[in-house]
């Protein structure tokens, strides 16, 4: 693999002991551009990803606010978009979904926190391939700009939804599917390239750059989750990239991969022989692992936080690792559960269903272990801990609706209703975002050298936790009453119109929840400037990021090489002087 940093290569080549030379090998850059813009430092790149995701999440949230307003006040004139037409509404939901899934849920937990903390937590001076790392960020950034450009071109942003089902997405002549749709596909393809580069880097770094004594089974669960996520990314994004290129060819070069003989407004389109289901297979082969790409880092982090703030070792470390591995593995064999109603063979639905139910097993194991971790602990209710507890609650709630959708018989009724929206928003959206919030409150002191304001953080937690339930729980009811998703108006179908009061309640809840995110935004920037100075290990945690300075020096450990003697979760060890034993402390008696 081309490295391109010259000296950086010696680190990767010379394995674990030689990180001593890190400081000379990878000298800190001086100029602003090399330090903050085209930086090779994984920490700066991590922050760049973090701020990209922060910008993206506010755009995505703003779009959802417009949708919520339109659903209950259809004639309201809104900022930027004026009066919302049905096609504008569909553009909003397409862009909301795409921005949130790719540029928030994939970008922040992995690109952001993974980049910043994976090398530090395994005792490495940087990622294995710093130049590739920089490239992967700027590629992702370009993808975001291309996506946003779709709003400003003739015809506007596409209306085919974040899943981009063909032939709707494959025909240029569909109203609302003009240049914006090409930009949408291009953006996703660019994103895939960035994600593939990132995945390679994460995998190599984890396998090759661990400090002496950092065996795989001593890695923090966060590292495991980023590692497994990277493997999923490597296998999934390549498929989406290829599918995107084929779709682009269908749109622009007259091929027919996804389009059979179709007419549009009575006019023959010139396509023939393609398969709309092929797109769905390719998309969901990526799309289902993507759910785990979004949620696994949050699982890893919340496991970590429950242990840190319960002052107790993680319950069933190995079970947690195996559960994440099985989730990752099974995650590639269940994509067909999105397609029970698609016309796919009903026999394959049976196989996809039972495999999907199988994923419930490792998910349940994780939940039991989380409860086991806080059981007989001594819980400190810091803001990261509150978000981790909130995560567990939301993960259970979002997970429990899974077995309904995983059974084809029930999916006949529930497919494409708000029940689905409730399910995946809770588990993939809100639970993952709780992971991101927990990570921000937990690692902010290390990243910025300041503490965040705890009072504001707790206020943010309560409003968001209750708000998220108030938004998404009623969507289950809406779906149970057959309320369909992707409807810009509920006026045309009588049984959907009757559900309008639920939509009103959801919109009011969304107002409050969205408003409370500005508490977070304010706290974030205010604390950077005015926060209390943070100690090196403010949470009394054991992993390697807490042995180094705050914020960490350019080579992470100031020329030193950490040597690891203990597992990541040694809390309340009998006979130890403090209630936590650092991973670099002398080895304790083998744990029972």
């Amino acid at each position: 693999m081309v490295d391109g940093t010259g000296g950086g290569e010696t680190i990767t080549m010379s394995t674990h002991e030689s990180a001593v030379h890190a400081a000379d090998a990878h000298a800190a850059p001086q100029g602003f551009i090399r330090k903050w813009v085209f930086s090779l430092d994984h920490k700066v790149i991590g922050l760049q990803y973090f701020f990209l995701a922060l910008a993206a999440v506010f755009v995505g949230m703003f779009l959802s606010l417009l949708m919520r307003i339109h659903l209950i006040w259809p004639t309201a004139v809104l900022p930027f978009f004026g009066e919302i037409k049905p096609e504008t509404y569909l553009s909003l939901l397409t862009m909301h979904g795409t921005i949130m899934v790719f540029f928030v849920l994939t970008t922040a937990p992995q690109g952001g926190f993974g980049n910043y903390f994976l090398p530090i937590q395994i005792g490495a001076p940087d990622m294995a391939f710093p130049v590739l790392n920089m490239l992967s960020f700027w590629t992702t950034f370009l993808g975001f700009i291309v996506l946003l450009a779709a709003f400003f071109v003739t015809g506007g942003a596409p209306l085919h939804g974040w899943t981009g089902y063909a032939p709707l997405s494959a025909l240029r002549s569909v109203p609302g599917e003009e240049l914006g749709a090409d930009l949408w596909i291009t953006s996703i393809a660019i994103f895939c390239i960035g994600a593939l580069m990132g995945a390679l880097n994460f995998i190599t770094t984890t396998l090759d750059m661990r400090a002496k004594g950092m065996s795989m089974m001593r890695m923090p669960l966060t590292v495991w989750s980023w590692f497994i996520t990277a493997i999923l990314g490597l296998l999934a994004f390549g498929v989406l990239l290829s599918a995107g290129i084929l779709l682009l060819m269908d749109r622009n070069l007259g091929t027919s991969f996804f389009v059979p003989l179709v007419t549009l407004n009575g006019q023959v389109t010139g396509h023939k022989g393609g398969s709309p289901l092929l797109w769905q297979h390719l998309f969901w082969f990526f799309g289902h692992p993507e759910v785990y790409i979004a949620i696994l880092p949050a699982m890893g982090l919340c496991s970590q936080l429950l242990s840190v703030f319960s002052r107790k070792p993680i319950f069933g470390y190995k079970a947690m690792v195996y559960a994440m591995l099985s989730i990752g593995f099974l995650g590639f064999m269940v994509w067909g559960h999105h397609m029970f109603m698609s016309g796919m063979s009903p026999y394959s639905a049976f196989a996809f269903s039972i495999l999907t139910m199988g994923i419930g097993v490792p998910s349940a194991i994780k939940t039991f272990n989380w409860l086991g971790t806080i059981w007989r602990g001594r819980i400190r209710f810091t803001s990261p801990m509150l978000f981790a507890i909130g995560f567990v609650s939301l993960f259970v709630t979002g997970g429990i609706s899974g077995p309904f959708l995983a059974q084809p018989v029930l999916d006949i009724y529930l497919h494409e209703t708000y029940f689905v929206i409730a399910h995946f928003h809770l588990i993939m959206g809100v639970a993952s975002i709780f992971g991101i919030f927990a990570a921000t409150y937990y690692w902010f002191p290390k990243m910025f050298g300041k503490m965040m304001n705890e009072t504001l953080a707790k206020l943010h937690f309560w409003l968001t936790f209750i708000g998220a339930y108030a938004i998404f729980m009623p969507m289950h009811y809406y779906g149970m009453a057959a309320g369909l998703r992707r409807y810009s108006q509920s006026t045309e179908v009588a049984y959907i119109l009757k559900l309008l009061p639920l939509q009103r309640f959801i919109t009011y809840a969304a107002f409050i929840t969205i408003a409370s995110q500005f508490i977070f935004l304010f706290n974030l920037f205010w604390s950077m400037a005015k926060g209390k100075k943070a100690a090196d290990n403010p949470w009394e945690a054991t992993t390697l990021e807490w042995i180094t300075a705050t914020p960490p020096p350019h080579d992470n450990f100031g020329g030193l090489t950490p040597v690891v003697h203990n597992g990541p979760y040694e809390y309340s060890v009998p006979g130890a002087p403090k209630d936590f034993v650092m991973q670099t402390d002398p080895e304790i008696e083998p744990a029972h």
Binding site: P260, S275, L277, I314, A364, G372, I379, I412, Y413
Partner: protein, 267 residues
């Protein structure tokens, strides 16, 4: 803080569960032969998963309150890395639960989707075109006439592109509403001309995508008369929300009368 968490988590759980039990917003009454079985499995799933949901949330609330740091009054956290026997127990329990639920429902799925419609089923071809549904009946000959994309001409009443030179086409009846007899199996042949649509009638517990390039055969048996709304359940473009139709279930006599009248109109 522990107590507040307990109260909030418990309240959210109980309020959420209340609306499921009270069925404030619920499935409309079933009107097809399959509905009872499906609804029964809904109930079973709700009881099983609802129990898990309530138990997990109540336990979470209780544990965070019970094991809060009480300062000097607190005992030290227990030093334990877990318990393999417990892991095995809950792995087995959840496997039995999830696989069991799946097996319970699979016979219904099989009867809905593995077997073809009965020989005496009423055939209706349902075609989705942005943004409306066409319903075609084969007429007395029992055969659908040929359709050709280049013949599609909605303004002149041939939205389906039926080839009038085909003898089988002459007696085909095309309707804007779907009329079917009660207590007869209906074989639906789903097609689409442009993009993917989905044919959904909640009361029939029936949904199936209509995919261009495919003719998907499905069946259901209405057991109640009345008018039911058909909504499109797959994003099909800007008019998706108004792609709406009516399924009218009538007695066999009424159906025969209706169909004969429509056939007569054609002559």
């Amino acid at each position: 803080m522990g107590l507040v968490l307990l109260v909030v988590i418990w309240l959210i759980t109980l309020i959420s569960t209340y609306f499921f039990i009270a069925k404030t917003w619920w499935l409309p009454a079933g009107a097809s032969a399959a509905a009872a079985g499906i609804d029964h499995h809904f109930t079973v799933s709700f009881i099983l998963m609802g129990t898990v949901f309530v138990a997990a949330q109540l336990a979470l609330g209780y544990l965070v309150w019970s094991y809060r740091d009480r300062g000097s009054a607190s005992t030290k956290a227990s030093y334990s890395h877990g318990n393999t026997n417990l892991e095995i127990v809950w792995t087995l329990l959840t496997t039995v639960l999830f696989v069991g639920m799946n097996l319970m429902s699979s016979s219904i799925w099989a009867s809905e989707r593995f077997r073809a419609a009965e020989a005496n089923a009423v055939h209706v071809e349902v075609t989705g075109v942005q943004f409306q549904w066409y319903f075609r009946y084969p007429g007395p000959d029992g055969k659908f006439g040929l359709t050709k994309p280049e013949l599609e001409d909605a303004p002149n009443g041939n939205g389906l592109g039926i080839d009038s030179h085909d003898p089988a086409a002459t007696d085909d009846v095309v309707s804007g509403i779907m009329v079917v007899p009660v207590n007869r199996e209906i074989e639906v042949i789903l097609r689409s001309h442009d993009v993917i649509h989905s044919f959904f009638v909640p009361q029939m517990r029936f949904k199936q995508d209509a995919v261009p390039g495919l003719a998907i055969h499905m069946h259901f048996t209405p057991i109640e008369t009345g008018e039911f709304e058909i909504a499109c359940a797959e994003l099909c473009g800007l008019g998706h929300y108004k792609m709406h139709g009516i399924l009218k279930v009538v007695s066999q006599e009424e159906f025969d009368k209706w169909l004969t009248a429509r056939e007569a109109e054609k002559q």
